[in-house]
């Protein structure tokens, strides 16, 4: 049966330490070995085990390469050997299921929350979240970028009702480590170093096909989250007022807006009537 053949080969190819070791396991090895012997033809050039092991090697190293590309800073922190073992453990739990390799590493950040490497490198899960957010931002949906001129025509009395749409690539992360600085060092070819333990709210976004990240300080983090959920400018000022006082709040939020416009974080401003 074709389905049985495919399941047999899949189970051996994805064995974490290769086909020969899988066949040496007392619990399942002998049965698998007989099934493989009946299924795959060996010859003087290569045995059936060696032939299938070519695929097992390619399976692992292809995925290892993809994850190295997605998580260069995690690789820099852990080093090659630990990263290799991490990917081995990860693939046992999160077997690729989507047609594109693009998503093979999607669950590594969550996986790192429970992996033993976290004891030695407690920043890893946060670092992986930042790196995966950068992967996601790279090919996020396209959108127009709002220009400052589009806001110039809005009468002051209508600003309170103004709502904003953010670029689809924008992601907000609350990290417990300064992982953004670590990633910057790796990007610049420097030593990864050890990040400080501190609360670091980050935003990640794409502009002109380049992915950026930066720190959001309070109240910017709360204001941007509120506006992204659909609240209006007046509500954003009320939140900002808790930190900077009611008198300065409109100016504070306006300065955030100026920064977001400069960085390309906004894609539209909306009133009941189109702006």
């Amino acid at each position: 049966m074709l389905s049985e053949t495919q399941r047999l080969l899949w189970s051996l190819i994805t064995s974490p330490e290769g086909v020969p070791k899988a066949l040496a396991e007392p619990a399942r090895g002998p049965g698998l070995a007989r099934a493989l012997e009946r299924t795959v033809r060996g010859d003087a050039r290569l045995s059936a085990v060696e032939r299938l092991d070519v695929y097992a090697n390619m399976y692992f190293f292809r995925l290892l390469d993809v994850l190295k590309g997605d998580y260069p800073a995690v690789l820099a922190v852990t080093g090659d050997a630990r990263f290799h073992n991490l990917v081995t453990d990860y693939l046992l739990v999160h077997v690729p299921s989507r047609p594109s390799l693009r998503y093979a590493g999607a669950r590594l950040p969550d996986f790192l929350h429970t992996h033993s490497l976290r004891d030695s490198f407690p920043c890893l899960a946060d670092l992986a979240r930042l790196e995966w957010a950068m992967v996601d931002a790279f090919d996020a949906e396209d959108a127009t970028v709002l220009s400052a001129g589009a806001l110039g025509s809005i009468a002051p009395e209508r600003w309170g009702d103004l709502r904003f749409r953010f670029h689809p690539s924008l992601q907000l992360l609350d990290c417990g480590w300064a992982v953004h600085l670590l990633r910057q060092r790796v990007d610049h070819g420097e030593e990864a170093g050890v990040p400080n333990a501190e609360a670091v709210p980050l935003c990640v976004w794409r502009r002109d096909f380049r992915v950026f990240h930066r720190v959001l300080r309070d109240p910017e983090r709360r204001v941007i989250a509120l506006l992204r959920e659909g609240s209006d400018f007046a509500s954003a000022c009320a939140i900002a007022a808790e930190t900077v006082g009611g008198e300065d709040a409109p100016q504070t939020v306006a300065s955030f807006l100026a920064t977001w416009l400069r960085d390309g974080l906004l894609s539209a401003a909306v009133l009941d009537a189109p702006v």
Partner: protein, 294 residues
């Protein structure tokens, strides 16, 4: 004639990320590009922008790696919908994928596993190709994979299986000349027998690539220049199967674009010489027209 519906595109190169900037800026005189379909099944960003601009200037072919036409899993509806949307948007000259299986039990190996060459597999693949072609609204072109194993239960040769799929499903073939060479070495068959068994009318494209020598077996790594033996097999393929769109693949340790372009131009020279040789042989074999005898 099946092949007549796929006019030759000439000599192309597989478009890779490393060359995006060069291709957009220099607009090299390459006949066409092949792109990996899955790399463009994304929501936005640079890949789709680049493909838009490339498509404005060049014919393209969508080449998939995850259709898994030989899998016993159900066909992936989401994947087919995305593939069709991509084809509708970019209007490729054709869509190709591999005669293999890549997934089972909902898990993807991201590798091109050969099928056992049995009646069961043949029936299974033909039925699925038919459904895919219906979904895409166009013929599918299937490529022979390089392989490192064969199955005890296979009852026909790879080329017999390939030809039977093409005829049974009324689909096209993408003949990877390097894959034939690699598999011939790994399994001990004659590449010439393979070429003789392929129906010329079904072959709409050739692939050429480099491989690496691991001593007891060859690995289809796409990380070397095309080997001399593969160029010779390509010449034989052109003589046997006629004028056919040809594409250079290079996926690892990718050199600068002009190196790939030079390989495409080498393919063009070899194909021209092979076709000239056929013409010369035909002319030599043709009987002289006798003078009219009153």
């Amino acid at each position: 004639m099946f092949k007549a519906a796929f006019p030759p595109l000439g000599f192309g190169v597989g478009l890779r990320t490393k060359h995006y900037g060069y291709v957009l800026d220099a607009q090299p005189p390459v006949d066409w590009f092949e792109v990996i379909a899955e790399n463009f099944m994304v929501r936005g960003g640079r890949p789709l922008h680049v493909l838009e601009r490339v498509r404005e200037r060049y014919p393209i072919v969508l080449h998939g790696v995850s259709l898994s036409i030989g899998s016993t899993d159900p066909l992936d509806d989401d994947y087919l919908r995305e593939l069709k949307a991509l084809a509708d948007r970019f209007q490729p000259a054709w869509i190709s994928d591999h005669l293999c299986w890549t997934s089972v039990g909902g898990h993807n190996l991201h590798d091109l596993l050969p099928l056992p060459y049995t009646e069961e597999a043949l029936t299974h693949v033909i039925e699925r190709v038919g459904r895919v072609q219906d979904r895409l609204g166009r013929p599918l072109v299937l490529e022979n994979v390089s392989s490192y194993l064969t199955y005890c239960e296979s009852a026909m040769t790879e080329w017999e299986f390939l030809a039977a799929v093409a005829d049974g499903a009324d689909c096209g073939l993408l003949l990877d000349v390097n894959n034939i060479f690699v598999s011939a070495f790994n399994h001990g068959f004659a590449a010439a027998d393979y070429l003789r068994g392929i129906p010329a009318n079904r072959v709409v494209q050739f692939h050429l690539a480099g491989h690496s020598d691991h001593g007891r077996y060859l690995l289809d790594t796409h990380d070397h220049p095309i080997r001399e033996e593969v160029w010779q097999l390509y010449a034989a393929a052109v003589r046997s199967l006629g004028r056919t769109s040809t594409l250079i693949e290079w996926d690892d340790h990718i050199p600068e674009f002009p190196v790939l372009h030079a390989e495409a131009l080498q393919a063009q020279r070899i194909a021209r010489e092979a076709l000239e040789q056929i013409d010369a042989e035909r002319n030599a074999a043709a009987p002289l027209v006798p003078h009219h005898v009153a």
